[in-house]
């Protein structure tokens, strides 16, 4: 029992929490940006895969690490453009299109990998982002070891939270995005382009999602594996509701999920096989479901979420 609590005092646990949360932070930010503009983007799972693969491949082919990050973002934006064009001006079902984008992006990523490496058993490795070495933070008690294990990519995730929160709350662009997800007629009547805003938001959101994938191959690990995304995208969709479409709460949700995941991993080693490990693996997902049950009933969905808008039709 004492050992179970002692986990919470380990710097290692908190460092893992942040590491596990980082891709989710990108994912939830991306999903909430799309949904704030009124578009559900279920392409997220596939966009994670495509971001992970393309960022890693770009670095493997010789680009610098930040070049890989940029490539991943561009690939994400491209899939966002596909999803946006199909769902916004053409008004197709956002569920069906999103699942389609996930299948497409996943398959393209796997296919690209096989084309690039036809005869490789273990994927080639790259040199990933190295932990930050900040002199003034290194020596802090407790916090130092936690932050010392993080990379610049994680800093980018936290910075994205602040930037997105600021853009949504304080800028004309953020105002227009919030409005277009609530009442596209209002946006149209004020002379702005509903289609442009929505496609732009979906592209930017998808780029963020792809960064979540790229974090896994460029920072958390050093290679691309099949199945490495493993449902992280779907978790982000759930966390978006938990976060009530607010960047700050998205950060909290992602960290909470990361903490649970990191905790159950350590709990497994303590119990030493007395309890089947699958039970522990379920914990974070059970938490997601429980949180949704509690939060989603009161959730204040963007009113125009999943409602296609056609100009001149009311």
């Amino acid at each position: 029992m004492w050992a179970a609590l002692e986990i919470l005092t380990q710097a290692n646990f908190w460092a893992a929490t942040i590491r596990i949360a980082t891709p989710l932070i990108f994912g939830v930010l991306g999903a909430l940006l799309c949904e704030r503009a009124g578009v559900l983007n279920l392409g997220i799972e596939g966009i994670f895969v495509a971001g992970a693969m393309s960022g890693w491949l770009a670095v493997y082919l010789g680009l610098p690490l930040w070049g890989g990050v940029l490539v991943a973002a561009l690939v994400g934006a491209l899939f966002g453009l596909i999803h946006g064009v199909l769902t916004v001006p053409l008004g197709l079902s956002q569920h069906v299109t999103g699942i389609g984008v996930t299948l497409l992006a996943t398959s393209v990523a796997y296919f690209g990998y096989r084309v690039a490496f036809p005869n490789v058993a273990t994927p080639p490795r790259i040199e990933p982002f190295s932990p930050l070495d900040l002199p003034m933070l290194r020596d802090l008690p407790f916090v130092g070891p936690i932050l010392g294990q993080q990379t610049a990519f994680t800093v980018l995730a936290f910075a994205s939270v602040a930037v997105l929160a600021l853009v949504l709350a304080c800028t004309p662009l953020g105002l227009a995005i919030r409005a277009v997800g609530d009442n596209p007629e209002a946006v149209e009547a004020q002379g702005l382009s509903v289609v442009g805003l929505r496609i732009g938001a979906v592209m930017a959101g998808s780029a963020l999602m792809a960064l979540g994938g790229a974090f896994l191959t460029l920072s958390a690990f050093n290679a691309f594996y099949f199945g490495m995304i493993n449902g992280r995208g779907w978790v982000c969709i759930a966390l978006t509701v938990f976060a009530s479409w607010r960047p700050g709460k998205a950060l909290v949700g992602a960290l909470l999920f990361g903490a649970l995941d990191a905790y159950q991993l350590r709990l497994q080693t303590i119990t030493g096989g007395a309890v089947p490990s699958q039970i522990f693996l379920m914990l974070p997902y059970l938490f997601s479901i429980a949180a949704l049950v509690l939060v989603a009933r009161r959730a204040d969905y963007p009113r125009a979420l999943m409602k296609p808008y056609f100009k001149g039709q009311r």
């Binding site: 105002l175 919030r178 409005a179 209002a186 004020q190 002379g191 702005l192 009113r303």
Partner: protein, 527 residues
């Protein structure tokens, strides 16, 4: 029929000296074979309040949508004055161009983002999207100045979803004024307001017109049009049939111009009261804090009378209607229908007990769009022996009775097998009426029975309800339209914030008192 004023001989009035701000010439718009607007000419001068009248489908909305850039006219030209007063052609098909040219429109269904504050809605789209801020201080000052000049008061700093309908409308008007419009189009602006709010809107419109704003006022409330506007333009079947000063016009004449034929007067004969068909004692419906809940209602409705429920929608009418229809149960209190206690949620028992329901939203709750006219006609009685035998539908009989209803109720449709969604709102409502009235119900729940219908269809619904009253049915008429309530009801009760007032005899009842009560004042303090 009254001969329309020839548009090419405008009246010589002193207003002619005012500069022209908007000029439409020969505007025609077709949708396939349908001519929505035909060769419409319309001139509007600065400071002028012009009423645009017409039935549903007369082309008002199409014409205004062309002005506001939702549609492009097939023929004809639209000219609008620039800031210096020179007329320039308006590029079609762009709301942005219309806004830039100084045309503002307040739609009947507000175009507000409810998650944004009033201020955010006003400045939305007025600053290029790449800017980092709004220049908030200057924008605030401008809004404050506009509020002072126009007398439009509204809370700018809460999400507009939490504001009253009247406040939301004031935000909408401020939104247009903020963009320095020279022409303001108001589409059915008073449809959702209490009489007091409507009066204050009229005062605002007059103030704004006094400052040189041209106002196009779309309405079907003729007394408002006559009180507020100086010129009346009537559209019928897509063409302009009258363009004349409001002075000297009267309601009957305008109504006939709109409809193109004489309107039969509603006949309200005294009727004998029967047994109570609905009795509510201290009834509450819906959990505390729930929207549109009913807190207290005491009411006795007897056969042969119509009780009107006045109130701005969302004040408990929904719960009251759901209670009577059996879709919700009372949380406390006694509810008796036709002498029997109605305690459970059970619409079928209500139907069998003789409750006829005309729902508020005929598209959502009244009909099933994909089903045929005949199928919709038997929706509530499909289990009865005349409609089914051994679990199989008696299609021939159902179709024959639908054909009969189509003749009796003059339902314009291709036939009993046509899907009901292909029908116009008025004809759809006639199917609902036929379904309800055919069973000779003892209690009729008529919830907004004429919302969205034109004068012809409205008159028909009113006539049928009065006939049902004459037959001895008790009718609970829930409406936001005070004209309708006063024309049909024997007694009127007002609902506000879930509280239902005692029902008051209509004879001698002042519409202003009802209006004040709709806004939350009690009858005593205003008497």
């Amino acid at each position: 029929m009254i001969a329309p004023t020839a548009p090419d001989q405008p009246d010589r009035t002193p207003h002619e000296t005012r500069p022209l701000v908007l000029s439409l010439a020969g505007v025609t718009k077709r949708f396939g074979n349908l001519v929505a607007n035909y060769a419409i000419d319309l001139d509007v001068r600065a400071g002028e309040i012009v009423a645009l009248l017409g039935e549903n489908g007369a082309g008002k909305t199409t014409l205004m949508s062309i002005l506001f850039g939702h549609y492009v006219a097939d023929e004809g030209t639209v000219h609008i004055a620039d800031a210096a007063g020179r007329l320039a052609p308006l590029p079609g098909g762009s709301a942005e161009a219309a806004l830039d040219a100084g045309i503002g429109m307040v739609h009947q269904h507000f175009t507000l983002a409810e998650n944004l504050t009033g201020f955010e809605n006003i400045v939305l789209g007025t600053v290029p999207l790449w800017r980092l801020g709004f220049g908030t201080a200057a924008a605030r000052a401008k809004v404050a100045r506009l509020m002072k000049e126009s007398g439009l008061e509204a809370d700018l700093d809460v999400p507009v979803g939490r504001l009253s309908v009247g406040e939301q409308q004031r935000i909408e008007i401020l939104k247009a004024l903020y963009r320095d419009v020279r022409v303001l189009i108001l589409d059915e602006p008073t449809a959702v307001l209490t009489p007091q709010e409507a009066d204050s809107l009229s005062a605002t419109v007059k103030t704004l017109a006094g400052k040189g704003l041209a106002v196009i006022f779309i309405s079907h409330k003729l007394h408002e049009v006559l009180a507020l506007c100086e010129r009346v333009v009537v559209l019928r079947g897509g063409a302009k049939v009258a363009d004349r000063p409001a002075a000297g016009a009267d309601r009957a004449m305008l109504a006939e111009l709109m409809v193109g034929r004489e309107i039969p007067a509603r006949e309200r004969t005294p009727s004998t009261l029967g047994a109570p068909v609905l009795r509510l004692v201290g009834v509450a419906v819906g959990a505390p804090g729930e929207r549109d809940r009913l807190e207290t209602a005491d009411l006795e409705l007897r056969g042969g009378e119509i009780i009107g429920i006045a109130g701005v929608s969302g004040n408990g009418q929904g719960s009251l209607a759901a209670l009577v229809a059996g879709l919700k149960a009372a949380r406390s209190g006694i509810c008796e229908i036709a002498g029997y206690p109605a305690t459970r949620t059970d619409p079928m028992t209500r139907i069998k007990a003789g409750v006829g329901r005309i729902p508020e939203d005929r598209h959502r709750d009244g009909t099933i769009g994909a089903l045929s006219v005949a199928e919709n006609h038997v929706l509530e009685t499909v289990g009865s022996s005349e409609n089914q035998r051994h679990g199989l539908l008696r299609r021939t009989a159902i179709r024959a009775r639908a054909a009969q209803a189509i003749r009796d109720y003059d339902i314009r449709c291709p036939g009993p097998d046509a899907p009901i969604r292909a029908l116009s709102g008025g004809n759809m409502q006639k199917v609902v009426l036929a379904r309800v009235l055919e069973r000779a119900p003892r209690l009729i729940l008529a919830h907004q029975p004429t919302r969205g219908l034109d004068i012809g269809a409205t008159t028909d619904v009113h006539r049928r309800l009065l006939a049902a009253r004459g037959r001895g049915a008790g009718i609970l008429l829930i409406s936001e339209d005070l004209d309708e309530l006063f024309a049909l009801s024997d007694r009127i009760a007002v609902i506000h914030a879930g509280h239902l007032s005692p029902a008051m005899e209509v004879a001698g009842l002042d519409v202003r008192i009802v209006g004040l009560m709709m806004a939350g004042h009690t009858a005593e303090e205003d008497a």
